[in-house]
């Protein structure tokens, strides 16, 4: 670089041109392979069919005709929309007041509350669904047993039925609400109190201030949250796969998965994937249109600490509300899982007399897939997190500093996978990499590609906003004092960003571990991951082993996340708050 500095001083543009174009083309090529390839195969398959006689592929719209006329497909589509809308509304109704309580009031123990919300985020939705099955299956569910015990109701009466559409919506909302909560709480954190002070000084009542300042400023976050909740519910595979079949209906994701059962119908699966993709793109465009025009950004380090509202006697109902909300995705399910892990039969309460180590012994000493699955999962988690963070870091630097021409294309490509549901990506990757020249199916690489692609948008957005929060003037100052671009990056920007980088790493790691929908399309016996193993165990109803495996997976995840955030030199006290 010592040679490069004078050259740069002489003609910066030449320097940039030489160095950055290949880099950018490289990254664009990588992103294209990650995203464009599987989507192209999906579209191609959805529009073609194999002629049974000649074995040649020819153009057809038959798949789409079936998709939009056969009730076998129309019903799941309608069900999916109902689920997505309802759980999105439920998430907002719960998360908005809770976010407000945590961020803007003198509610005690807010750090604990945030940590517990994180715990519900770390819980894979399919594990949550299994736990809720143990709790609220109509006859054997622990809560229904309690209900019958208390009320003396007969055996066939029940309070809750998890095997139903509302049951599924509830479970989905339980594990989607963290997304909305974090968005709203962070937004409320960042609204500087000077705006509210100004309103108060100008004679506005607390109600006026809330109506005209706080709510409008938090609205974009709520809207974004509602949208994310909608998308998450729409593309979720884990919870429906566990609850929808016993409840007697299909969602789009379970339907797509069932199309891969024998005899596999990849053409129909590809066609059924496209509505999810199109809907996602439309919604994201809609969000950009609503938010894009308004200058809502008040993010800045300059504002004073937000003024906390004194709850007074309202603390009691508020605390009750928060406790109940946290019971549903965290306390009750983990109680159920712990109980099932040590109980001879999952829905019987453990007592000192019937406690058993059988499930633990079975999972770790008899079940021959446990070791392979744990190894694969943590290997893939660490690799996806590392590669994904690096990729996102470089791309967000290039786009945030507008270091290269065409950075917008790069930004678009890095965000595009957000529109691809995991199961759709799984189908696309399966179609792409089961044929020469790149037969990756059967290796861990295909899963690695899937995980990186799925997590890239979130990682990119986090790091991009982190870069934006570091004003370029700091880097410029460093460069004016003679540092090279890389040195400025290393000595100024990197230290300021390390907390975000770490948070991003942890986010990808955790998301990879809870991923099921792409993995279930792409695994083979040698490349099984824990989420798929749990899914297989669910098929034959081995609830005890699922509980042991699920709890161990969470403990290990927790250890990794804590361990990583303790790495010397990296920001201690990193929390998943930003996720």
């Amino acid at each position: 670089m010592t040679i490069a500095v004078p050259a740069e001083l002489a003609d910066r543009r030449t320097f940039k041109f030489d160095m950055t174009w290949p880099v950018m083309f490289g990254f664009m090529a990588v992103l294209c392979v990650l995203i464009v390839l599987p989507i192209s195969w999906l579209v191609y398959y959805s529009l073609t069919a194999v002629d049974p006689v000649t074995q040649a592929r020819s153009f057809t719209l038959d798949q789409f005709r079936t998709l939009f006329s056969d009730p076998e497909f129309v019903d799941p589509l309608i069900t999916t929309v109902i689920i997505a809308v309802s759980s999105s509304i439920a998430c907002c109704v719960i998360a908005a007041p809770m976010g407000w309580l945590v961020a803007r009031t003198d509610m005690p123990m807010t750090r604990t509350i945030r940590a517990l919300v994180t715990a519900s985020f770390v819980t894979p939705p399919f594990l949550g669904a299994v736990a809720w099955e143990i709790l609220a299956a109509p006859n054997s569910g622990l809560l229904n047993k309690l209900f019958r015990l208390v009320t003396g109701a007969p055996q066939d009466e029940h309070l809750l039925n998890i095997y139903s559409l509302p049951g599924l919506i509830f479970v989905i909302a339980c594990y989607t609400f963290p997304y909305v909560f974090v968005l709203i709480a962070n937004a409320l954190d960042r609204i500087p109190s000077d705006l509210e002070d100004a309103s108060a000084m100008l004679g506005g009542t607390a109600w006026d201030t809330a109506r005209r300042i706080t709510v409008p400023l938090a609205l974009p976050a709520l809207l974004a949250g509602a949208l994310i909740a909608f998308l998450q519910a729409m593309i979720l595979f884990g919870s429906p796969a566990i609850l929808a079949l016993p409840a007697g209906f299909h969602t789009m994701t379970t339907k797509i998965w069932s199309l891969f059962q024998y005899p596999p119908k990849p053409e129909l699966a590809a066609a059924a994937s496209l509505p999810l993709l199109v809907l996602t793109v439309i919604l994201l465009r809609g969000q950009a249109m609503i938010l894009g025009r308004k200058g809502y950004t008040v993010v800045g380090g300059k504002g004073a600490e937000p003024r906390l509202i004194k709850l007074g006697w309202w603390l009691v109902p508020a605390a009750l509300f928060v406790t109940i909300v946290l019971m549903l995705p965290v306390f009750l399910p983990y109680f159920a899982l712990f109980n099932a892990a040590f109980s001879p039969i999952a829905t019987t309460l453990v007592t000192p007399f019937n406690a058993t180590m059988h499930n633990i012994y079975f999972t770790f000493f008899e079940l021959s897939s446990t070791k392979v699955a744990l190894k694969n999962t943590f290997l893939l988690g660490a690799m996806s997190a590392t590669i994904g963070t690096l990729l996102a870091l470089v791309i967000s630097y290039l786009t945030a500093r507008q270091a290269v021409r065409g950075h917008r294309v790069l930004a678009f490509l890095a965000t595009a996978p957000i529109a691809i549901p995991g199961i759709v990506l799984g189908v696309g990757l399966f179609l792409s990499y089961t044929r020469p020249p790149l037969v990756l199916y059967g290796t861990l690489w295909i899963l690695l590609i899937a995980y990186i692609t799925i997590e890239l948008p979130a990682a990119y957005q986090q790091l991009q906003s982190a870069f934006k929060s570091v004003h370029p003037e700091l880097e410029e100052a460093s460069r004016m004092l003679g540092a090279s671009r890389l040195r400025a990056l290393r000595d100024v920007t990197a230290p300021l960003l390390r907390t975000s980088v770490l948070a991003t790493w942890c986010f990808i790691f955790v998301s990879t571990i809870r991923e099921l929908s792409a993995a279930v399309m792409l695994f083979t016996s040698e490349t099984k991951v824990v989420s798929v193993l749990i899914f297989d165990l669910k098929e034959s109803g081995d609830l005890g082993a699922i509980s042991v495996l699920g709890i161990s997976m969470l403990v290990l995840t927790f250890i990794v996340v804590v361990g990583v955030s303790r790495i010397p030199g990296f920001g201690a006290g990193t929390r998943l708050r930003n996720t």
Partner: protein, 352 residues
């Protein structure tokens, strides 16, 4: 000793087959083979075998642990999922030229017809299969044989249903009093349920299933799951499911009881076969050979409550002997032909 026992056996077997049983000359079955020290040594060199099976996971792991104890140094990787998914998985892997499976066991015998037609199975006849297994329970070309016999039974939770009220037949399940109280496996995932559904469609007709679909049935995937669901008390009755899971739960003190329907109980034979492209060919043959030994067959009865086709294996006292149970006739060829149609029609009726 270059003249191995295997070669001698091969010679003698060929002689006996050619001389004594002229019909057998037409079959392409190779001569029967015993477990030789050479086979064990070669298998040990490979060190592992991957066993794709649809038998209940705990049973599969137990069988493989027995094998590992019997032949130390060879570890068994159990890949357990429903038979229809095992079939789909192998098809998917083979079409991508991934040859991961060594030995397969499926509760849907029709799958072996397809695998054999594709030329994926290796001809290999274990000694006991040649000696003890009747012709109807083994492939004429020596590519597979019936490893286990299962029944798909009705069952009930004795804490919720009194024995005198319990259903006695498939027809009894249509009684409105059972509406919302039954759990059932799915032929799209379970080979046992697939095979059983074909028999019931043949003998009772689709109208029976149309009426059954009106009973608000809880649908699960696996035939191994329904007994667990009634043991939990989640539903009072299982429409179908593995007899062996139910018997094991009953023997461990759970309140469950099988019902052998008066119309007959569907019988399901789950064959075992070795794949031609097995990555561990010797360990695969050793596992296959041991699977059909009297020792292993007795184990599957004692430990897994399965039923055996090996005449030397003894049924366990306290369980209803097979010959006292009226069973429906199995027809793998028909399952192979009608399977897709049955799955399709079934999903239309039961909405999943």
């Amino acid at each position: 000793m270059r003249i191995s026992r295997r070669n001698i056996l091969r010679g003698t077997a060929a002689l006996t087959l050619a001389g004594a049983v002229p019909v057998r000359v037409l079959s392409a079955a190779p001569p029967a083979e015993a477990i030789t020290p050479e086979l064990i040594a070669a298998a040990r060199k490979e060190g592992k075998v991957s066993y794709y099976t649809s038998v209940d996971l705990a049973m599969a792991e137990r069988i493989s642990k027995m094998f590992e104890q019997r032949f130390p140094g060879i570890s068994v990787r159990v890949e357990r999922t429903g038979a229809e998914r095992v079939f789909q998985r192998i098809g998917q892997e083979y079409s991508s030229r991934i040859h991961a499976v060594d030995v397969v066991n499926s509760s849907d015998a029709a799958h072996f017809i397809v695998w054999k037609r594709n030329g994926w199975l290796a001809p290999y006849v274990p000694e006991d299969v040649a000696k003890f297994y009747s012709a109807e329970h083994k492939d004429a070309d020596g590519q597979f044989a019936g490893f286990r016999l299962m029944l798909s039974v009705i069952g009930y939770n004795t804490a919720q249903v009194k024995p005198e009220d319990a259903p006695k037949s498939h027809a009894d399940l249509l009684d409105p009093k059972w509406k919302g109280k039954m759990v059932k496996g799915h032929p799209g995932y379970s080979g046992t349920i697939m095979t059983a559904t074909q028999q019931l469609v043949r003998d009772l007709g689709w109208p029976y299933f149309e009426k059954l679909a009106q009973q608000s049935i809880m649908q699960v995937q696996s035939a191994a799951d329904t007994p667990k669901k009634i043991a939990l008390g989640e539903r009072a009755i299982q429409v179908d499911g593995n007899e062996y899971n139910l018997l094991l739960l009953k023997e461990s003190g759970q309140p469950v009881e099988p019902v052998y329907a008066s119309e007959g109980t569907p019988q399901v034979i789950g064959p075992n076969g070795v794949f031609k492209n097995a990555p561990n060919p010797n360990a695969a043959r050793l596992f296959q050979n041991w699977s059909f030994s009297a020792e292993c067959q007795q184990l599957i009865i004692d430990v897994a409550a399965l039923r055996s086709l090996h005449p030397q294996a003894k049924e366990k006292p306290g369980r209803k002997p097979l010959k006292e149970i009226k069973t429906l006739k199995e027809d793998a060829a028909a399952v192979e032909k009608q399977g897709d149609e049955i799955k399709k029609r079934y999903s239309q009726l039961f909405k999943v």
